[in-house]
Amino acid sequence: MGRGTIRQILLLTDGCSNSGEDPVAIAALAKEDGISVNVIGIVDNGDMNEQGISEVESIAESGGGISQIVYAKQLSQTVQMVTRKAMTQTIHGVVNKEISQILGEEKELEDIEPEKRGKLMEVVDELGETMDLDVFILVDTSASMRNKLPMVQEALLDLSISLRSRTGKNHYALYSFPGKRKDIDKLIQWTPHFDTISSAFKKLSMGGITPTGPALQEAIRLFQKRMKKRGTDEDERFDLEEAGM
């Protein structure tokens, strides 16, 4: 069986974007490229405002991903669950497409009798376990996120424990936005190891604005760069080039 790669952007934010392109539009673009956009909205003690929540949901919806609003404390389990569910959803989407090709338009998993559904689900589970996964993690570091960052760091470490237990390969990249001079700053280049995350968080710079749209745009661009590069084994050199910044 040919093993493809599941591509996800995982966006962690606590509010509304206020600069640049509409993130909902950019998320739709990502979906067209076969990248799902999952969004986790982190709430402090009080509630996130309506506008913030609706943006979080809209980005995920148009990005073909999953959204979740959580308290910072519950972040760990949510991050791993969203990633896993999103993976299953992506595969599910592919399987559904296959089903409608075989059975005709408008047919989905739910239109198959439960016994056969079970067989299909086994395939979905199998793929979710064995397919390779690229996660581009995008962390909002606008000023209001400051006190939530330790929780974000812990949640990402926890995610890496979960993903490392999979059979398939995983690669992560970690970027923050807003960057010092650009829209996003690289914290960790594509890597299968996530151990450097603690040190990466130390060099974070906090900014005032929240350019979610431009940040997503940059994420897609970097994803495409990686897809072109795949197989040419240039990742290491790429790392060195960019390390000078």
């Binding site: 969203v82 998993l109 979960s162 237990s165 999979r166």
Partner: protein, 331 residues
């Protein structure tokens, strides 16, 4: 918080509502809600088989996965390997199509309240029962995953622990599907989330600690793996189980059987006093042993004392003879 993930509205069923399957046309009458889990809501219902448990969700993916697991065990089921699988179908309501499945209704008491009202020896007994089932499960290539008191029941006459939720069951070698942080070794930094027997045995160990800390606790920021052991030592009543607990959280048991055998041996050699204040067998045992030791030591001391007196006696007698001899010479 969980269900904002799927956009579809949660399916609420009310008592006496009839649920008829779209495919198999079986009819079930809802009696009451039994529980609520990550993947759906469980109701007590009445079907043509009598009382059954009905689990319904908005998302067919997770339900279908669970049905797959339950089916697996219905084929080769021993008496205790979870609830047996009965039927799966879709319920068509005005809000949409909701997948559901029917399983055996297990009547019993919740695990934590049961072991809290009974003596501390019961934790060990129920865990011995549980380990037997786990051994069977592991041997058939599966790991329970989300092992916690909420997923266990104690059925009566005779008391027997049963498990309820198949949601976390994962094939050996894969990544654990569903877990609860307190019972997850990954959360405590004590191992991976790969499905292997030792993953379940870690959770089993945490059942002990959950008896002593019913409301559980979170890891603190300066977390290191010994924190769990320190917490365990805080509770005098659990002391007897410490060696088992320690090996369990350190992942040193290679099979459920190994843990079970050690637990059986431990319980056999421990007297659990009926008085809750003194129900700490471990310390009484060591206390007793200490006493014996002390006695032995004092015996030894006494022997030494007697020996000393004896030699002194002999010495003084010789001295007396010598003086007599000296006297004889001078006179």
């Amino acid at each position: 918080m969980r269900d904002s993930i799927s956009k579809k509205q949660e399916c609420k069923l009310i008592p006496n509502q009839r649920v008829v399957g779209k495919w198999h046309r079986n009819s079930y009458r809802i009696i009451r809600q039994l529980g609520y889990g990550a993947t759906g809501t469980v109701y007590l219902a009445e079907g043509k088989e009598g009382l059954v448990a009905l689990k319904i969700a908005s998302d067919s993916m997770s339900i279908t996965s669970e049905v797959n697991v339950l089916r697996q065990f219905s084929k080769v089921q021993g008496p205790n390997l979870g609830p047996s699988f009965i039927d799966t179908d879709d319920y068509v309501s005005v809000n949409g199509v909701y997948p559901f499945y029917i399983m055996e209704y297990i009547q019993g008491e919740e695990f934590l309240p049961f072991i809290r009202q009974k003596g501390v020896e019961w934790v060990g007994i129920l865990i011995i029962q549980l380990l037997k089932d786990l051994q069977e499960l592991h041997q058939s290539g599966w790991v329970f995953g989300d092992l916690k008191p909420e997923n266990l029941l104690v059925s009566q006459k005779p008391f027997q622990v049963r498990w309820l939720d198949a949601g976390g069951m994962t094939r050996v070698g894969r990544s654990i599907k569903e877990y609860t942080e307190f019972f997850d070794r990954g959360y405590w930094g004590l191992g991976s989330r790969k499905a292997e027997p030792s993953y379940d045995l870690f959770s089993v160990s945490m059942l002990f600690i959950n008896r002593a800390f019913p409301s559980r606790f979170e890891k603190d920021s300066s977390m290191n793996p010994t924190q769990l052991l320190t917490k365990f030592k805080e509770k005098e009543e659990l002391k007897a189980y410490e060696p088992i607990f320690k090996k369990g959280i350190e992942g040193k048991y290679s099979s459920a059987n190994e843990m079970r055998n050690e637990l059986i041996a431990l319980i056999k050699n421990t007297s659990f006093s009926p008085k809750p204040l003194y129900n700490n067998s471990g310390s009484t045992k060591t206390r007793k042993r200490n006493k014996v030791k002390k006695q032995k030591e004092s015996n030894k001391k006494r022997f030494r004392l007697i020996g000393l007196m004896e030699s002194m006696l002999v010495g003084s007698f010789l001295l007396f003879l010598y003086i007599l001899y000296l006297f004889g010479q001078t006179v």
